[in-house]
Amino acid sequence: MSGTEARLARVRGRALPRSHNARTIAALAANPGCARRAIMDAAGVDKQRIAAYTGYPAPFGQSRFALARGTAFEAQVKASGAAGLLTLLREHLDLPIPEAHYDDLNDVGGNTDLTVRYAATRQKLATAVTSAADAGTMFDHPLLRLEVGGRHAFLEPDLIAFQLRGRFHVVEIKSFAVIDGQADGDKVAQAAIQSAVYVLALRQALAGHGVAPETVADETILVCPKDFSSQPAATSVDVRKQLTVLRRQLSRIARIDDLLGQLPPGLTLDLDPDGAGVPQRKPAGLAAAIRAIDARYAPECLNTCEMCFLCRDEARGTTARLGRAAREELGGVEDVPAVLRLARGEHRPEEEGDLAEAAALLRSAAALRAEILGEAV
């Protein structure tokens, strides 16, 4: 075990590691400056459990109704060797697919070791590229790997990589409805960034075998229920923009080694289970350990990160808590009390510059509010 791995294992403690997935990578990429999330994810910490233990349970859960619908829809699409999916691809995307093999990579002769499975996935994918056969192949559950913060994260997507004539298409199955060709914008955006994660990981997996990145199409295929029915329909999603964003954001995530170097030695998020597995650690102590890792809170975290309530509480009195737009409009000043001192003219920056400009704007805004409401800000 390398020094980094040992240090991450120590941060995680005795809990079982959680693996990255496209959702966690997309969330991290949305906020690349957050060391707290980067370290907790790299260490495989169960953030949901840790957040609840410190008294800040995550605000989002999943309804069993939604889970059931998601599972049922995916099973329906993948039934009998994904025959339905093949028909869809043929009709909706006008692909000349006479037939296709279905290859489930979930299991490599009973071997569940990630490294072994990853090697097997790469081998099979690379062989498929070079084979001249006319028939397509659908690879279900390929095990992929992506470099995040200088460290490899394994991804186990519920995903189909469809290969035809040496070209791969990422197929994502989602259970939100596409009604009259339109779907919930947030959900489509999320699906697109997740697909981009898979495109990138697939390209990295093939790169080692000398396969060019263009072999994996940057147009992915989204399979969703059509209108108000449960009939699947396929839509092409161009993820070029998401790929650019993702590459830039991933490059901005600091190296995990460097982040670990800034932590107090011996820092751990271990719950200190007793013989029966019951946690003995004091929640306040655990919270203090978490706070020793820098966070960068933004209100968007409320929809994506299990730690959000703890971080939001920590961000009390900051303009970041009011959202990125508000923070910018308040001249980028970090604290609310500092904003109000500037607005009231109690603090007049001496030097010319951005702060003086922001202060002038805040003073005018305060004067206007006072004039109109008849009450000082």
């Binding site: 605000p59 989002f60 859960g61 999943q62 309804s63 069993r64 109704f65 939604a66 889970l67 059931a68 619908r69 998601g70 259970s175 939100f176 409805a177 009604i179 009259d180 919930d184 229920p225 209108d227 108000f228 029915s229 449960s230 009939q231 209100p299 968007e300 409320l302 929809n303 009195g317 303009t319 808590r321 009011l322 959202g323 737009a325 508000a326 409009e329 308040l330 609310v336 009390p337 904003v339 109000l340 607005a343 704007l361 805040l362 005018s364 805004a365 305060a366 004067a367 206007l368 509010r369 109109i372 409401l373 800000v377």
Partner: protein
């Protein structure tokens, strides 16, 4: 958002209470609005689970669907809903639909979409009233997109348009939290009330999404009990299970119902802005037009607009958006303050006035009074070169004739034209007098013509040519809703 509104958010953080960002109410409130709180089943495509609705705070109607995945039950729900909504529209001369949040509008729009193409006869018949309900729900949700309309209101939007909370726009989507900031219960600060409202046990979410823990721990077992009782044919057990299910949903909806009416009261206490009445009259014209269209046997709204209809709609929206923005500024000094911040308006006190000044330089002698005011606002070069209007005298035009800096302030002299009667002596009160506070802005609320667009039958080939006459197709009537 703007610096002014963000500053109000900062003040709200410090005072732990929402701060006003408007001095008057820019949304109309009908005498008896229909409050509609829909709940959807998680994971399904807009499957109704329950709704609480009514136009009287003292009598809420609760509708529930024991098995939202069952087509017949969904249409039974739609039929029952149609009975209430259509009855309300018919009996109310000024109908208005109020839902808790923007997601409630989306739910309503999709419910309209999934019901308006149905037929009440033939093989795929649905109960009477269902397609009509769909057309009206579609109408209301389309009006929501209309910048001048108050026919459909999302309550969180109406509240945050008038108050700034000490939280972010993401958190402002929660009705409980916003209401907590604006109107905390006694003994609590707004911040505390908002924090308390985040506990779904204390304050159930305002829908359409339900609390996942409620789904898993309360709803699912009760749904199962209904299904089991149905299978065993035990009528009494079924009734009991059904009642328990309804009671569970009532625990989620009743607190939201109370919040909605509290919010209506809060908004009513803010005096209505000047231009709201005219916009509401336009709204009622639209209602009458739609009722007439239905009465004449017109088709339901198409799935998608044609090219010309879409372009016309977009251009119209942009024009109306600008018009409404100016109307708001003219109605409300706090909105006009946004223009003053950017140098598009200034305000100050009149220190000198020549109300009887006559300009004799041209062929005809004309009345051209001049007033001088002192302002602390920035008077930009752009504004001194523009034609200006004052909210207090919208039919009068003003032009800057001189500008002198005096310390932190500025002396501006403007020359006035129009709105003073026909003689060479101004009508009393038509020229600002010394001591009066006046505001001049680069924008005016005068009417602008809609943009010229071809008639639908002249759609150019670049835009797909003339669209075919829209006729509802059979497959739309029998579309799956499962």
């Amino acid at each position: 958002m703007s610096t002014l509104i963000s500053l109000a958010r900062a003040v709200a953080v410090e005072r732990e209470l929402a701060q006003p960002i408007r001095t008057v109410r820019h949304v109309h409130l009908a005498d008896r609005p229909l409050v509609f709180i829909p709940l959807a089943m998680a994971g399904e495509a807009n499957a109704p689970l329950a709704a609480m609705l009514g136009d009287d705070p003292a009598s809420a109607r609760l509708l529930t669907v024991a098995e939202p995945r069952d087509r017949d039950q969904r249409f039974a729900f739609a039929a029952e809903l149609a009975g209430i909504v259509l009855g309300y529209i018919e009996n109310s001369h000024a109908p208005q639909l109020i839902v808790p949040n923007p997601a409630g509008v989306t739910f309503t729009r999709l419910l309209g979409r999934s019901t308006r193409f149905r037929r009440t006869s033939g093989e795929w018949a649905v109960p009477a009233g269902v397609p009509l309900l769909g057309r009206w729900l579609t109408f209301f949700s389309e009006r929501y997109e209309h910048p001048a309309s108050s026919l459909m209101v999302a309550m969180t939007g109406a509240l945050t348009e008038h108050w700034a909370t000490g939280q972010s726009p993401v958190e402002d989507l929660s009705l409980g939290a916003v209401l907590g900031w604006v109107d905390p219960p006694s003994g609590m600060s707004g911040a505390q009330a908002a924090a308390a409202a985040e506990d779904p046990v204390v304050c159930p979410p305002a829908g359409p999404a339900t609390d996942p823990t409620f789904d898993n721990e309360v709803l699912e077992p009760r749904m199962l009990a209904i299904r089991t009782a149905g299978l065993t044919g035990d009528g009494r057990a079924y009734d009991r299970a059904r009642q328990a299910f309804d009671e569970a949903l009532a625990t989620q909806l009743t607190p939201v119902w109370a919040m909605m009416w509290r919010a209506v009261d809060l908004l009513r206490r803010v005096p209505e802005a000047g231009h709201v009445r005219q916009r509401w009259t336009d709204d009622l014209d639209a209602v009458a037009w739609h009722a007439g269209h239905i009465g004449e046997g017109g088709p339901p709204q198409a799935r998608r607009d044609g090219a010309v209809a879409a372009a016309r709609r977009l251009a119209n929206m942009e024009r109306i958006q600008e018009m409404v923005a100016v109307q708001r500024a003219f109605d409300d000094p706090l909105v006009m303050a946004e223009y003053r911040m950017t140098g598009a308006a200034f305000a100050g006190e009149v220190v000198h006035a020549e109300p009887d000044r006559v300009d004799g330089s041209g062929r005809r002698r004309v009345l051209r009074p001049r007033v001088t005011l002192v302002t602390s606002d920035d008077v930009s070069e752009q504004i001194s070169a523009s034609e200006l209007t004052s909210p207090a005298r919208p039919s009068q035009k003003a032009r800057v004739v001189s500008l002198t800096a005096a310390g932190d302030q500025c002396r501006v002299t403007v020359e006035l034209k129009g709105g003073m009667g026909r003689s060479l002596t101004p009508v009393p009160g038509s020229v600002p007098a010394v001591g009066e506070r006046v505001c001049y802005a680069m924008v005016s609320d005068s009417y602008q013509n809609p943009p010229a667009l071809p008639a639908p039958e002249d759609t150019p080939w670049t835009h797909g040519g003339p669209p075919p006459q829209y006729t509802p197709a059979d497959d739309e009537a029998r579309e799956d809703w499962s």
